[in-house]
């Protein structure tokens, strides 16, 4: 009986040695199993959006950043929609006036979010269109476009994890964050 050694599978999958998975794995030499394992890649966090940590710096404007954010309430959206609901206009106007007055030293980052019912990429795009709709509303209220940045988190930044209608509607939102 011919003695064959399975190592290609290990090589391709575990070891990521790059040996082509096209070859019949059973024919690969045994040594390849010992190929160096690629290290895991540790992603470096390069940015921390303002949070409680900013209190540490004890500067007055840093301290107020969190407070100001808290005053700028999230904008909520209907299912699969990215137009601003009429009941959300007042919230946006309030946030816009904060951004123009007390928060005028900061730029505004709009974070678009979705409920879990979309699909991977489509949901990210939907979150972005929501952020963009809020951006346009802010610009219409007189805020300089260059002060507003946008990002979409799709369904990956939920504030509520229950499987209820109420909960999903809380996740379809745009949050305001301030950046120094």
């Amino acid at each position: 009986m011919k003695n064959l050694v399975l190592s290609g599978v290990v090589a391709t999958l575990l070891v990521f040695s790059g040996c082509s998975s096209k070859d019949p794995v059973v024919d690969a030499p045994a040594q390849e199993v010992e190929a160096p394992v690629a290290q895991e890649i540790q992603a470096v966090e390069t940015e921390t959006v303002s949070n409680e940590d900013s209190l540490v710096s004890s500067e007055t404007n840093e301290l107020s950043m969190g407070d100001l954010e808290a005053q700028m309430s999230s904008v909520y959206f209907d299912f699969d929609k990215f137009n601003i609901r009429s009941d959300m206009q007042d919230e946006i106007s309030t946030s816009a006036s904060i951004a123009k007055s007390t928060a005028s030293a900061f730029s505004v980052k709009l974070e678009g979010n979705c409920d879990e019912w979309g699909s991977d990429e489509y949901n990210f795009a939907l979150g972005l269109k929501r952020a963009n709709a809020v951006k346009k509303a802010l610009v219409a209220e007189g805020i300089d476009e260059s002060r507003v940045a946008m990002v979409s988190y799709g369904e990956s930044n939920p504030v509520c994890n229950e499987k209820t209608k109420d909960c999903w509607s809380k996740n379809r939102r745009v949050d305001f964050k301030l950046l120094p």
């Binding site: 399975l6 990521f16 998975s21 966090e45 940015e47 019912w117 949901n123 990956s156």
Partner: protein
């Protein structure tokens, strides 16, 4: 009558190779196969685990009626166990641990008491036993002269959300039984294999200042930045030769499909609709399909690269928000219920651009992330049903679905 018959025959032959037609065939006429364990090392739990994995793999190759009874015997017995006498095929295996702790597996395939195939396998550690099991299934399938199931040996790469704005990228076998976390910490999503060889991949980093597409060589663990875009950046597909990427970028908050040349680092905008255009997939070198909400709801459209003409591909489903293409075939996810939130059902459907048929591939639950295998023989997807998530494999030509339960939380994106 003759004319009618020949027309009928012509009709049936012309659709003979169409995957959108469900073929109910052979189920009862498949040859029977039993699996016998002759292992001398390892405890019962591990022995049963390997047995289950092997039975599952033998099922997935879809050419046997696999007997699920666990039976033990001696490896060198010349005939099969009495209970298995009526089986057309018997697959006997022996696992043993050598001095280095490596897992060795020997197999014998019996066809009516005659050994027709025997092989030995070896992996360095027993916790990667599933690759031996996949390799045995691949070899038995090969021996039986069936079309290759090369995809069984391919790796799945996926991202999962571990906390709000925290994710990890994982490489796994096709059943997601073996999992190796390759990118840890941070907020990294949308992994995509960079080449057929699966030795490098792209992903989107979201905790950088603007969303950035990165490339990782898994042999050297070297990471390099490719391109970034305000608001959104996703690598949706990679061409067969690995030279062209289909990206979703959002210059000025406007998500559109772009093609990107890896060699020249130049991109060109492929869609210009003022709504959402995402999820582009190559159908051929010059033709793509993508998801757009240009009709007021997400649906699948196609266009030629460089041309502005857009064609609607799907006329069924209220919300078709994700798709995967292979040649003339498109598999897409459709929302089935009219109410957005009452017992949502998302099913996968298959169409061919050459016929008008639609084949429904799943029947219950929320089915998502459909991805064709590279050869188009199988589709992998995630199924959520009754509070249980599973990974599914659809064998198009065999009209069979197989599910492997998943133990952990939410998959964010997946590539095969």
């Amino acid at each position: 009558m003759k004319l009618f018959l020949s027309l009928l025959m012509l009709f049936s032959f012309s659709f003979a190779e169409d995957s959108t037609i469900e073929v109910i065939k052979r189920v009862d006429s498949l040859p029977s196969l039993a699996v016998e364990d002759s292992s001398i090392s390892y405890d019962d739990t591990f022995k049963k685990r390997f047995f289950k994995s092997l039975v599952a793999d033998m099922n997935v190759i879809s050419i046997f009626n696999v007997d699920r009874h666990y039976r033990e015997t001696h490896f060198n017995d010349t005939s099969v166990i009495v209970d298995n006498k009526d089986m057309k095929y018997v697959l006997r295996y022996k696992m043993f641990e050598d001095d280095n702790g490596a897992l060795n597996v020997g197999i014998k395939l019996f066809n009516e008491d005659e050994i027709v195939l025997s092989k030995n396998y070896k992996v360095s550690r027993k916790n990667i036993y599933m690759f031996v099991s996949h390799a045995i299934a691949f070899d038995v399938n090969e021996y039986m002269g069936e079309p290759s199931v090369e995809w069984m040996k391919r790796k799945v790469i996926f991202s999962r959300i571990v906390a709000p704005k925290k994710s990890e990228i994982v490489i796994a076998d096709y059943t997601l039984t073996y999992q190796h976390t390759i990118v840890n910490g941070g907020f990294n999503v949308f992994p995509k294999w960079a080449s057929r060889a699966q030795n490098s991949f792209y992903y989107t980093a979201l905790d950088t200042k603007t969303p950035t597409l990165k490339h990782v060589d898994i042999r050297t663990a070297k990471v390099k930045n490719i391109i970034s875009s305000d608001g959104m950046m996703v690598c949706s597909d990679v061409s067969d030769d690995g030279k062209t990427l289909l990206l979703t970028m959002a210059k000025d908050g406007q998500p559109d499909v772009y093609s990107y040349n890896v060699n020249t680092n130049k991109y060109s905008r492929e869609t210009r609709y003022n709504g959402i255009d995402v999820n582009a997939q190559f159908m051929s070198k010059n033709k793509i399909v993508f998801i757009s909400n240009r009709l007021g709801y997400p649906n699948v459209f196609s266009k030629k690269i460089g041309s502005s003409e857009v064609e609607q591909m799907i006329y069924y489903g209220k919300s078709n928000s994700s798709c995967s293409a292979h040649g003339e075939y498109i598999v897409y996810k459709a929302r089935e219920s009219s109410n957005a939130f009452s017992s949502n059902t998302f099913n996968l459907h298959l169409i061919s651009t050459k016929t008008d048929f639609i084949r429904r591939l799943t029947a219950t639950g929320v089915n998502e992330f459909p991805r064709f295998s590279k050869d188009g023989d199988a589709i992998i997807f995630i199924k959520n049903y009754m509070a249980q998530s599973s990974i599914g494999i659809i064998r198009l030509k065999h009209n069979k679905n197989y599910l492997f339960p998943l133990k952990y939380g939410r998959v964010q994106s997946m590539d095969w």
